[in-house]
Structures are given as C-alpha cells and as structure tokens.
C-alpha cells in the first residue's frame, strides 16, 4: 500500500536494522551454546519489527524504556553492537560498564534508560519521564516497551492511568507475543485484545500487525505526532511471536508446533524482504556488513577488560554539584551572628523549606495524594498546605496509586527534575517499594554511573491510635538498601535542613517523619503530640546528610535514638548522666559521632519504636560491637507484634521515658555487678 512512498534507502535501513537484531541475537545464542557467555539471556528473535518499527519513528533525543528482553530495543535505538556485546560479557567497556548485564542494557546518552527487568516496572517510569517533558515544555516523547504479561500488573494500571489523566507524551508499546514466560495470554486475560484497555482510561489504543515493520512504523509515527501535539498517551498493541525461549534454557515446549510454523510463515524479516523485493545482491551486501560487524564485536568483547574488583562499590551514589548555602551546620543548630529566627513546628518548617526550594529551583515539584487540593489538607499532615496557590503547576495531585506515582517521580528525577514524593502514611511505602528499591535506588548502579535519581521521598511513621496499618515504623525496611539514603529528623530545624540537603544531594533520599512531632494544627492535630518546634533561621541553611547530633552530653552511658524516641530519651537521661545522640541519619550511619561517644561511656542503649527483631537498632548494635567490642550494648524497642489499636496496648508497645530509663539503669547495674 505505502511501499512506493518510501525511499529505497529508508526501506533498506529498516531491513538492515532488523537483520542486525536477528543476527545479534543468534550470535549471542550460539555464544551461550558454546559456553563462553556468562549469565542468562532473554532474546527477541521473531520480534524484530516491533523494536525497529517503533524506534525508527523516534527522534534521537526521544527516549525509550525497555524490559529484560531489550537487546533489540537497544540496537533499534542506536546503541552499538559493540557496547551491547561488551555489556553481555560483563566488560568495563559495556554500555553499563558491566554492572547492568543483559537484562539492563541502556545508554542515557542515546535515549535508552537501563532495561527494567521487573515486569511493567518501566511503565510508571516512562510516564514520569514524560511528565518531566511536559512540565519543562520539552518536545520529547517516550516509548515504553513491555510484554503482554505486563498488562496484568498493577504498575501498568497505575502508570497508564496517570499518563492518561495528564495527557502525557508516552507511547505504550505492548509487544504481545502471546506468552508471559510460558503462560498463554488466553489463560490470564478474559479480553485478550490488549488495545481495548486504552478506551477504559480514555485514550486511543490500536492493534497492529507487529510482524509488519512498516505497519508498526506508521502506527508509531502517528502516535509520536499525537504525543507531540499534547494528545498522548497512545497504546500500541503489536502482535508478534517469540521464536526463541523465554530465557536461555527454555525449549518452548508450550508453543504448539502448528502455531510456531504458522508464525514462522509470517517472519518479519522474510516478509519485509519479499514485500520490498530485497535483491540477492542487496541482501548479500547487508548480510556481509552485519556479519562483519558482529564478528568484530564478538572478537573485541571476548578480549575486553573486565571491571577491577576494587571498583565493586563505585557508582552507587552520584556526587551532586553543590548549590551554595549560607549556613551548613556541623552537629547542632547554627545561626550566623545577628541572624534572626522564628519558632516553627516540623510541618511549618518543612512547608517553608519546600516553598523556598521550589522558588529557588524550577526543577523542584511535589507529587502525592491530596497534597495541593484547594480546600483540602495539604497532605495527610498539612505539610504542603496552601502551596498550590503559589505553585499551581508544581503540586501534582495523584490518584491513590503509590506504586505508580513513586515510579513517575523516579522517571522525572532521572530526566533531571527534583521531585518530592510523599505518602500519607509510611505503611503505604510497601506498595511503592518496587519503584523505590528496584528502580530509584539501583538505576545509578545498573547504568554504570550514568543515570542519577535526585528524588526526595517523605513518609510519616509512628504509633498514633490508628492500629496496625497506619502506624508502623518503616525505617527498618529501607535502611541498608544500597543506593538509598535515609534520614529521620526529631525536630523542626533538622527537618527543614535535611529536606534542603536531600533536595540538593542528587540521590534518592527517604525522610521519615513522626506523626506526633509534626505540630500539625486544626483538624489534623494529633492527640499525644510532642513539641518538636525549633528556632528556625531566616536565612538559608542545610543539615548535612550522614551526620548524627549530640543532644545532651553525659559520661556514664550513650543513648541512641531518632524521631520521637529522642524526646523520650532526653526525659530519661536527666536522672542518669546519659549522653543522648540523635542518630538522625539512618543510612549512612554516622559512626564517627557514635564512636566518639560510646568509647567515652563504654555503654550504649539503642532505643527504637518498632519491633526489636531485625530493626535499625540491630544494625547499630552490630556496628558498635564490630568496631568497639569493649562497649556493652543493649536495646529498648517494641515487642515483636503489629501495632495494636487499643490505647492501653499501644502505650505498652511504644517505648517511653520510663522504659528507656529502666533499660539504662539495667546496663549501668550490670556493668557494676
């Protein structure tokens, strides 16, 4: 139909790109059979037209997200066979310096985020990238590749829904190859026409012959045009077939022989060769060129240098370009001579900090549930109250979709924005944890240090009369996640200073805040609240990440606490000459400050709100025992039960000044005895 309208060179380029993908995959397959290639592979023989058709419709500065089956996407987007082959061999010269591997190939300078190997995990990410383009008025689009299996994931629903609400420039590319691993689509969906789903979200979906590269190209071109015109997203369901196993040891016995043969008749490369009449001579030239390129790539990749073992811990965090600040505190609050202060609670101080950073840096925006609704609450604890009046386009109110909007925030951060994502209650972080732990925290490493995720996350925690699912202390689950920094301020000065430091850090930082410490007012005030207000300097300041603070000096015992427990520890300390350290930074832990204290006192009591087993306190105890074995360590924490509702049990669950004092006296008596 449309063949005559294309130049011969364009058609032959499409053909050559598909041949390159096929030959690359076959070459890799035989390297596995030979036993020379490490790891596992997920290949795309038979699906070449989807990758090549879509990527040919994109500009070089458009973006794609991919999956564990990403070699074809990478080659189609313009990554070289050499950088891919090197990556597959685990070489330092690979596109992700050998840190990513087959499932995470990508190249940030060529518009491809490292492959996201969690099914559907790239969809919210792509929506977030698109959100950043929209917010910054950039013309780019994102094509997000995923398989039919992804459609059953919550991340698909949440990401797609938000892309729809905000008309984001995302092309949702579903490569429907009929099988999620070994399970046929008909077994896992009632309506297996995937493009139908677009209508339920209110946008356009289309089913396309995914083995016809020109049909794919034309559908993608139209989708790109829609997205650039502000009429995104578009869902393209590309019907195709995987001619190889799901992964390297899969003999595909679940694919019926007649089905395989029928699809073999519709091979995208052979069909296209026939359609455009590739001559024997043209084929010979292309085939020889591709073979030569791949033979050289294999030859070089086999000899390519591997990372030095001394580099094992490189690329976990980005070194952020520092933004100048007037005041940087070293351990405790500082004020320049003659500087003015006001007394603010944590909620007010955070609000002020967010507003100042948004005013100073147009890349900063807030994303979360109920955060900027006129007449609403300003988030569950009033932190963002009224900010929508000042920054109407930068308070992004989301659906109730934690996995989705943490993914969007991660994607936007990767594109250079500085999002602040918050949950109403820390407990909901479990929903978002795939995006936080598998994407935000790991993308810098998996990309070999080329991507960064300057994302700030905020989460209220603490037992406050809400029972088991709105009250957990979540610190334990996120402390010790490589690539993630964790802070937990106990007062307003720290809250504002740490928030500012986090926004300027250039890495994912998760801030836990305690519900009893916010000082929230009006309808959102908490019963049993503790005053955590501080004198806040009028001038700009930060509290550096990774630093603990000595709140009270003492000689006989060190009490280590954070959040609410700092306040109770201070009450207990008065009677016993205890030194109280506000740990404040849970990841990384400030061993210098802790060490100086415990070496002096010889005793450490670690106080934690939350179950004793496997808590952050256990990590601190182990760290002290390893470094200073002469120090006696004990813990005061909650028992191993979910947070109870009834006040009498909740009060018994949460450590208080009396229990802390008992713990401190015990360690003092033991060491005397």
């Amino acid at each position: 139909m449309s063949t005559p309208t294309y130049e011969r060179k364009f058609l032959l380029d499409l053909y050559e790109r598909m041949v390159l993908v096929r030959e690359f995959e076959d070459t890799v397959k035989f390297l596995f059979l030979e036993g020379t290639m490490p790891g596992t592979i997920h290949q795309c023989q038979g699906q070449e037209a989807t990758a090549v058709g879509v990527c040919s419709a994109l500009a070089p500065d458009d973006w794609i997200t991919s999956t564990f089956r990403g070699h074809g996407h990478a080659l189609a987007k313009g990554l070289s066979p050499q950088e891919l082959m090197d990556e597959l061999f685990g070489a330092e010269t690979g596109c992700c310096k050998g840190r990513g591997g087959s499932m995470h190939v990508g190249n940030m300078s060529k518009g491809m985020v490292p492959g996201i190997a969690i099914v559907a995990g790239g969809i919210p990410l792509a929506a977030g990238m698109a959100l950043s383009f929209k917010m910054e008025n950039k013309p780019h689009v994102v094509a997000s590749f995923f398989g039919d299996g992804a459609v059953a994931e919550g991340a698909f629903h949440e990401g797609v829904n938000m892309a729809a609400i905000w008309n984001l420039p995302v092309i949702l590319v579903c490569e429907n190859n009929l099988y999620g691993a070994s399970t046929h689509v008909d077994l896992v969906m009632k309506n297996s026409r995937i493009s139908d789903r677009a209508a339920s979200y209110g946008f356009r979906g289309e089913t396309v012959d995914g083995n016809d590269v020109l049909a794919v190209y034309e559908a993608a071109q139209k989708a790109v045009a829609d997205c650039r015109a502000g009429k995104g997203p578009v869902l393209l369901e590309l019907l195709t077939y995987r001619r190889t196993g799901h992964s390297r040891r899969d003999p595909c016995h679940y694919q019926p022989k007649d089905e395989r043969e029928a699809w073999a008749q519709r091979d995208p490369i052979e069909r296209f060769a026939t359609k455009i009449g590739v001559t024997a001579e043209e084929h010979e030239i292309i085939s020889t060129r591709v073979q030569k390129q791949l033979a050289e790539a294999v030859e070089r990749a086999k000899a390519a240098p591997h990372p030095d073992v001394s580099g094992l811990t490189e690329y976990v965090f980005a070194e952020a370009p520092p933004r100048p600040t007037a005041l940087v505190e070293q351990s405790n609050p500082v004020l320049s001579p003659g500087g003015q202060t006001r007394r603010l609670g944590i909620a007010e101080a955070l609000r002020e900090g967010i507003a100042e950073e948004m005013a100073a840096d147009p890349r900063v925006f807030c994303i979360g549930e109920d955060i900027g609704v006129p007449g609403g609450w300003g988030g569950a604890f009033t932190v963002t109250l009224g900010l929508e009046k000042k920054f109407p386009d930068r308070l992004v109110n989301t659906p109730i979709a934690e996995l989705g909007f943490f993914g969007l925030a991660t994607g936007a951060a990767m594109m250079g924005m500085r999002p602040i994502a918050d949950v109403q209650y820390g407990d909901f972080l479990f929903l978002a944890s795939d995006q936080i732990i598998n994407n935000a925290a790991k993308l810098r490493y998996m990309s070999g240090g080329t991507a960064s995720v300057p994302l700030v996350m905020r989460a209220p925690v603490g037992a406050t009369g809400r029972g088991s699912q709105h009250a957990q202390n979540m610190e334990r689950y996120f402390t010790g996640v490589p690539g993630l920094k964790v802070v937990a301020p106990s007062n307003a000065y720290d809250a504002k200073g740490l928030l500012k430091a986090a926004l300027r850090d250039g890495n994912p930082v998760l801030m836990f805040e305690h519900k009893l410490l916010y000082g929230s007012k009006g309808a959102r005030a908490e019963g049993g609240a503790v005053d955590a207000s501080s004198e806040i300097p009028n001038e700009d300041y930060v509290v550096p990440l990774g630093k603990a603070a000595v709140r009270r000096e003492g000689q006989r015992v060190t009490v280590l606490a954070w959040l609410l427990m700092v306040h109770y520890a201070m009450q207990a300390a008065e009677d016993v000459d205890a030194e109280v350290i506000d740990v404040r930074s849970l990841s990384p832990i400030d061993w210098d400050t802790i060490g100086a204290s415990v070496r002096k006192t010889g005793r450490a009591v670690i106080v934690e709100e939350g179950p004793i087993t496997g808590g952050v306190g256990a990590e601190i105890a182990a760290g002290i025992a390893e470094r200073w074995p002469q120090v006696r360590v004990s813990r005061v924490a909650s028992p191993d039960v979910p947070v109870p509702f009834t006040p009498v049990l909740e009060n018994a669950y949460r450590p208080d000044a009396r229990r802390i004092l008992t713990g401190v006296r015990q360690i003092l008596e033991e060491s005397h005895g």
Binding site: F30, L33, E34, G35, R249, H253
Partner: protein, 80 residues
Amino acid sequence: MDLNMKMPDLATNEGVELGITRWLVTEGDAVKRGQALLEVETDKAVQEVECIANGTLKTIHVQSGQKVAVGTIIATIKVS
C-alpha cells in the same frame, strides 16, 4: 577451520550430567547454523541442541545413550 561444539548448559540444577538421547545427523553430513543436531535429556525435558556454525559434521565425540557434563566437547564441525 575446525570448531568444537560443547555440551550446552541446559540443566536447571547445577552439576547435573546431560544424556544424549539421539543424534539427528551422522558424521559427514552438511550442517547449518541453527539446525537441530541432537536431542538431549535435561533434568527438565528432552530438547534439541542446535548447530553453532555452517559446515560439515566431522566427528561425533559422545554417542547416543551417554551422559556428559556441561562443557564436554560433543562434536567437531569443519566450518565452511
């Protein structure tokens, strides 16, 4: 050039020996990359092993019915 073909790592459990159930070609046959050369019984299933190069099957080193470890040379192909 002669190219040695090794028993591929098809087992899902480490250290399992794989048995050759039958050869689908005989010595001296012309072979093509991707062509099924033999059937192997893994701990999971019986599956075919494809040829890794175009040429002639020069020697079969491990006969049907034998079990060998992953990485053992099972055939030599004279590459064309």
